[in-house]
């Protein structure tokens, strides 16, 4: 109970709500202004392709640096030390896959969605349906993680301890997100992400300098502080090396390896990341965006390293685990420790903004995939008479996804959000990445190969997750009191990623389909940008 009080003491709910309301108000005004020129599908899905490389790069980092990055990683480092650091490294190195292998070629070949790239030289309807299924699956896992994070944050911030109150706030987050997406489309969403990225990185910078300042700008002293606060001796020293969270058994070591692989291969298969490459006018701008994103994301993760150990040193692992919100409350508690209620309010508002911006990005991606791939091309067979019909369907889909996200977020409230994000990465790395890479680089890839790698990868990943200890069989499992697990690892990537690469290869080999003319067109277009969708002048 003492720890609980420590989390709530000094909190000023009125102040927190005011700061957050100001952010919502400002972004809403911007979203409404952005919506003025938003009419066509290209406006709604890709902001008229009119963002510059740097703008898109900042928006990508805003889209990517989710609540899991900020709250989850800082908390993981505070509690588990070095093992939490792996998340940041995997999340960053992953961008090289996007930069070298995916971003530019994808921008040159597609229009709005991942399905566009696959459908270029394959049978439209089956591959678009498959691409939409995996896009929706990844978006769903990722949305759950963000919404669950909102619940934990609210617990800490407003002192709302009961589940009903938290659920209400999750609903408010969902409704705000729906408004952003419906009114602003991709343009409004992008601006929300840009503002949020600037606030988040600035906030993390201030806190990092503050923490370092307290320890004479000596990282080693910050680490010593964390070691001492954790009880010193061997127990405290464990924070400095790997193995505290994952090192105990052979199985948990394999889990760590599996997680590491999924993190590095997942990013370039995340549909909301892929879709951001379409908001710039050319492939060269896509390249610039990724460079900006890599620099900003890299710097941010260096900050979280200091923040995580700083929270361990100044707040302490006991106070963090005991606080409402648990591991996710490390960064907000550190803010309170440093700058009192005002900084706590500011940082919490930034964290809220983070959740809002990321869920808006996910929702627009999922709705675009459904409207563009499933409605326009699978159901209507590419013949949508009314040009506004597709956007209308996208808006309705966004509403439905918003409702599902609210319900799912309420159910997932209390789960570790970094873990939920890791699951989304496993699906993206297994179902999407092999398919995209084969499609862009392998001449003989075809419809059957794409279907096998998407559906096969998705099925293997989900089956392994359902029968993993993450879902049942241990005290920390999602479903408590039941045990039907037979797969030993929480992270399926180690098995599911090679399996879906193999399935994609096998499926393509066993089918004779090959369109040399279409492949010639796709390859020339992907490398040179001939005929790529241009920016829409307004």
């Amino acid at each position: 109970m003492i720890n609980l009080a420590a989390g709530v003491e000094g909190r000023n709910s009125a102040l927190n709500i005011t700061i957050f309301a100001v952010f919502v108000l400002i972004t809403l005004v911007i979203v409404f202004r952005a919506s003025r020129n938003s009419k066509t599908a290209s406006d709604y899905y890709a902001a008229g392709r009119a963002f510059t490389g740097p703008q898109n790069g900042i928006a990508i980092s805003g889209d990517y640096l989710s609540a899991a990055s900020f709250l989850g990683i800082a908390g993981a480092i505070a509690l588990n030390g070095y093992d939490g650091f792996l998340y940041s490294i995997g999340f960053l190195v992953a961008w090289l896959v996007a930069l070298l292998l995916v971003a530019e070629l994808l921008r040159n070949t597609g229009k709005f969605t991942m399905g566009d790239v696959l459908a270029f030289r394959m049978k439209q309807r089956p591959v678009r349906a498959a691409a939409a299924v995996s896009t929706l699956a990844v978006s769903f896992f990722y949305l759950l993680a963000q919404m669950a994070g909102a619940g934990g944050l609210v617990a800490l911030l407003l002192g709302i301890e009961n589940k009903a109150g938290q659920s209400l706030v999750i609903a408010v987050v969902g409704i705000l997100m729906i408004i952003y997406v419906l009114v602003g489309g991709m343009k409004g969403t992008t601006w929300v992400q840009i503002i949020k990225a600037v606030l988040l990185i600035a906030g993390a910078f201030v806190m990092t300098v503050w923490v370092l300042g307290k320890y004479g700008f000596n990282l080693s002293s910050v680490l010593q502080g964390a070691v001492d606060k954790a009880g010193g001796g061997a127990k405290g020293e464990a924070l400095l090396g790997p193995g505290k969270q994952y090192g105990s058994t052979g199985t948990s070591r394999l889990d760590f390896l599996s997680l590491g692989i999924a993190l590095v291969l997942g990013t370039a298969g995340l549909p909301h990341v892929l879709m951001r490459f379409y908001t710039v006018p050319t492939a060269k701008d896509a390249r610039k965006s990724v460079v900006w994103a890599i620099v900003l994301i890299g710097i941010f993760y260096l900050f979280t390293l200091v923040l995580g150990y700083g929270a361990g040193a100044l707040v302490g692992p006991q106070a963090i685990s005991g606080a409402p919100g648990g591991v996710n409350s490390a960064a907000p508690l550190l803010a309170q420790e440093l700058g009192g209620p005002l900084l706590l309010g500011l940082i919490s508002a930034v964290a809220f903004a983070t959740i809002l911006a990321v869920v808006a990005g996910l929702t627009i991606t999922a709705s675009a995939s459904f409207a563009h791939d499933v409605y326009a091309n699978v159901i209507k067979k590419g013949k949508v008479d009314d040009p506004n019909a597709e956007v209308k369907v996208a808006r309705i889909t966004a509403l439905v996804i918003g409702a599902v996200a609210i319900a799912g977020g309420i159910l997932a409230n209390g789960q570790n959000i970094a873990f939920l994000v890791a699951l989304a990465f496993a699906v993206a790395a297994s179902a999407n990445l092999p398919t995209i890479l084969y499609s862009l680089f392998w001449k003989r890839f075809n419809t059957q190969g794409a279907l096998w790698s998407i559906y096969g990868g998705l099925a293997v990943t989900i089956i392994l997750i359902v029968f993993s200890p993450a879902v049942s069989g241990t005290a920390k499992s999602m479903i408590k009191g039941a045990d039907f697990h037979w797969f030993p690892l929480e992270n399926p990537g180690l098995v599911s990623i090679p399996v879906s690469f193999f399935l994609g290869w096998l499926g393509a080999r066993l089918s004779k389909e090959y369109d040399a003319k279409k492949y010639a067109e796709m390859e020339v277009r992907s490398l040179t940008g001939v005929g790529a969708e241009k920016a829409v002048p307004h």
Partner: protein
Amino acid sequence: MSSAERDVAHEAETEWERVQASPEFAQLRKRLRNFVFPVSAIFLLWYLLFVLLADYAHGFMATKVAGNITVGLIFGLLQFVSTFVITGLYVRYANRRLDPISDKIRGDIEGVVK
């Protein structure tokens, strides 16, 4: 794709194949693949080495180098450095070695098609 665009693409189909078979395009493809494939292999192996060390060489990674700065921490920070360096190298390579050829091919095709 608008219907007008589709017509253009259809008529120009042999044009795509001609460009694809041209030595210029072969050079562009070769330059791209000669950079991105080996570099991807290198950074993925380098990352895998880091993960395996963090996973199976706890003692080595927990060795203190200076103060509380451990070998593991330095390895982790080196991953940041290598990511930034590879990004810089790729941008330089793309600007100098890839963009001029792809710009030229694009200019040629769009000149023919229009």
